[in-house]
């Protein structure tokens, strides 16, 4: 059946809640209202107040309570209404959740869901891509699905994972992406990238909403005879280095594409690994394409200029292919 990216996540959660009575939800407006984006719509009715908890407006308490419940053997899924507010729970995430296992062997199997990303004119506080705030913190896993198939498989894997997982859902994909996905249970492994498209001339390594920009660009480039390979990271931390390196060893050229701002973004980490471990295979500079180093502006012309798009990718790819 064809479902949206949003519906895929919803089903993944629903199935896990059916499967495991220890899975429960907490967050703001997730119960009666079904969540700001309606991911949890119908869950309160079906699973009851015990398992679908509308909390006060307190991100730090939401994450903290999720941690505490997970230490007692439950499997909480905490929702941040927008990913931007995850900053309010930063200490709980990077210092409490991330470090328990290392420090004293206590597992913290929580999932923090966070709708992220721009393209919806949300402005500086409803559009951020905060993955890099976390993709540096040992102990955390950071997942950014791009497809409906992966969104369902990864949310299920995240719920079953015995480590804290931050699950960034791209808001602009919620209703835009529709796919036929298998009915019923499957998971997608956390920590594994996916070869989205085979190619020979250059690799675009990307994740999240930018996968679609990469595909658009690759289609255009194909018409010009440039064969693009696309790697969809899916998990941005810890990185699936092998898949990235294998692609670059094959094509010898790499473009790193993300929607998050350039400096300090995921692209830097990937570039570093390529430049260290596939140096001999490189036939051109490692190119990064990302949003510029500014907050995410609100007004459409500014936001459009801010977000990477296929035209920008095509231009750089052409240059790199010719290099």
């Amino acid at each position: 059946m064809e479902v949206t990216y949003l519906e895929a996540i919803r089903r993944g959660i629903w199935e896990e809640m059916e499967r495991d009575p220890n899975v429960f939800l907490l967050g703001e407006d997730i119960g009666v209202y079904g969540g700001a984006f309606k991911i949890t719509a119908g869950m309160l009715e079906h699973f009851g107040e015990r398992r679908v908890i509308d909390t006060p407006l307190s991100e730090s308490a939401i994450v903290g309570a999720a941690i505490g419940a997970s230490l007692m053997g439950l499997r909480p899924i905490a929702e941040m209404q927008f990913a931007d507010f995850i900053s309010c729970a930063y200490d709980q995430i990077v210092n409490f959740a991330a470090k328990c296992r290392y420090r004293w062997g206590a597992a913290v199997p929580i999932v923090i869901r966070a709708p992220s990303g721009g393209g919806i004119h949300g402005g500086p506080f409803h559009s951020q891509n905060p993955e890099a705030w976390f993709a540096h913190v040992p102990g955390l896993k950071v997942v950014c699905p791009a497809t409906a198939y992966d969104a369902k498989g990864l949310i299920k894997a995240a719920i079953r994972d015995n480590d804290p997982v931050i699950f960034f859902e791209h808001k602009a994909l919620y209703r835009r992406i529709k796919e036929v996905i298998p009915d019923g249970d499957y998971t997608v492994p956390i920590g594994k990238a996916r070869l989205d498209r085979q190619g020979t001339d250059l690799s675009i390594i990307t994740y999240g909403a930018m996968l679609y920009v990469a595909r658009d660009a690759a289609d255009q480039l194909a018409e010009e005879g440039i064969s693009v390979e696309i790697v969809d990271l899916r998990t941005v931390f810890p990185l699936d280095e092998e898949t990235v390196l294998a692609s670059v060893r094959k094509t010898s050229k790499a473009i790193l594409l993300h929607e998050d701002t350039l400096s300090g973004g995921i692209g830097g980490e990937i570039a570093a690994r390529i430049a260290e471990k596939a140096f001999e295979y490189l036939d051109g500079p490692i190119v990064r394409i990302a949003a510029p180093d500014t907050p995410i502006p609100f007004s459409p012309p500014l936001e459009e200029a801010f977000l990477p798009n296929a035209a920008k990718v095509v231009e750089k790819a052409r240059w790199l292919a010719r290099y």
């Binding site: 209202y33 006060p56 004119h121 402005g123 500086p124 500014l302």
Partner: protein, 347 residues
């Protein structure tokens, strides 16, 4: 920027008000600002938003207009406002023209943020209004710091910070008030308790009956006031600001009210029991003020109708102005991240 209309400075009003009981002139000022707020927000939420002319989300203060107006008119121009997302009237009180508000909501350069941010995320330091960020209650410690600075500089001024019932659950709310109380800074805390935070009702937000019940835990005074009675709010705010100006530290006002709309323009608010809408519709703060104006013969219906007509005309003009205001040029994208652009940034 042009003032909304030629109004006297709030300080002049305040002085007069100090000398007297609520009077016709003050009541008419209440009426003007509350009606203007209502009209501008109706235009945004019910017309422009539906016409697709608004960029992004819309949060309005319908039914809560008495709060920013009753509180805001107690301020001197050098007092600093930290509005919440439902306090539009504070901008008008500071002389910001509705044009700029419409332009703000449309993402135009005529908005207070030139399109960099949207809706109520706006401020103007030259008029002592600080822009909120989205994170609820983040303004509270910032306002505490502003109040600290006002004291540091030896002024007689105060900071006013506005927040909802939901915001009181945030750690920043607690930390900010506690710091302000310990440092005895001149801070007026204004809670619009509209009984919902998005879809979350009070009983899921707090286990106490009143936000004001928290004030003793910070060693500060608080009072609960009818949030739909602009006179009562004004009086409470005067006590609050007098307390703060006297160097006695923060003072909290909890205004009991109701959000006569969804959380934002896209929210039908089905989670609100119907009887609450009906109950609170009867308590509408503008209708109530109107009744008082007529009863006390401070104005007749004709005057009020004229005033409203003027406001509508003003708003019509402001919408047109905003629609003529251009979208920002993409070349502005990189401006103003830092005072001086870093060497390695590319234009």
């Amino acid at each position: 920027m042009a003032a909304a209309r030629p109004v006297e400075l709030p300080s002049a009003v305040l002085e007069r008000a100090e000398r007297s009981e609520p009077n016709a002139e003050l009541a008419l000022r209440f009426f003007y600002y509350m009606s203007l707020m209502r009209e501008v927000e109706e235009r945004i939420e019910r017309k422009l938003y539906r016409q697709g002319k608004i960029v992004g989300g819309v949060y309005v203060g319908r039914g809560q207009e008495a709060i920013p107006v009753g509180v805001g008119l107690t301020a001197e121009p050098e007092d600093v406002f930290f509005p919440s997302h439902r306090d539009l009237a504070l901008f008008f009180i500071r002389g910001i023209h509705p044009r700029h508000i419409f332009a703000q909501y449309m993402g135009r350069v005529g908005g207070l943020t030139r399109g960099k941010d949207g809706n109520m995320h706006m401020g103007d330091l030259s008029r002592n209004i600080v822009a909120i960020i989205s994170a609820m209650a983040a303004s509270v410690p910032v306002a505490a710091g502003a109040a600290l600075a006002l004291k540091y500089k030896g002024t007689r001024n105060v900071a006013y910070v506005f927040f909802g019932d939901g915001a009181t659950s945030r750690g920043d709310w607690h930390e900010g008030i506690n710091l302000a109380a310990v440092q005895k800074v001149p801070l007026v805390l204004v809670c619009n308790n509209n009984q919902y935070a998005y879809s979350t009702p009070l009983e899921k937000q707090m286990a106490c009956a009143h936000v004001a019940d928290r004030a003793p835990g910070y060693g500060i005074p608080a009072e609960i006031v009818d949030g739909n009675d602009v006179f009562a709010i004004y009086e409470a705010a005067r006590r609050a600001v007098a307390h703060a100006r006297a160097g006695l530290g923060p003072y909290m006002i909890e205004c009991k009210t109701f959000r006569m709309t969804g959380h934002s323009a896209h929210d039908a608010a089905d989670y609100v029991p119907k009887h609450l809408w009906e109950e609170w519709a009867k308590k509408d703060p503008i209708l109530r003020l109107e009744r008082t104006l007529l009863e006390r013969q401070w104005a007749d219906s004709k005057t009020l109708e004229e005033l409203r007509a003027n406001i509508r005309a003003e708003v019509d003009e402001a919408v047109e102005w905003a629609e003529r205001s251009p979208f920002p040029d993409p070349s502005e994208l990189l401006d103003n991240v830092y005072e001086t652009p870093p060497a390695s940034s590319e234009k």
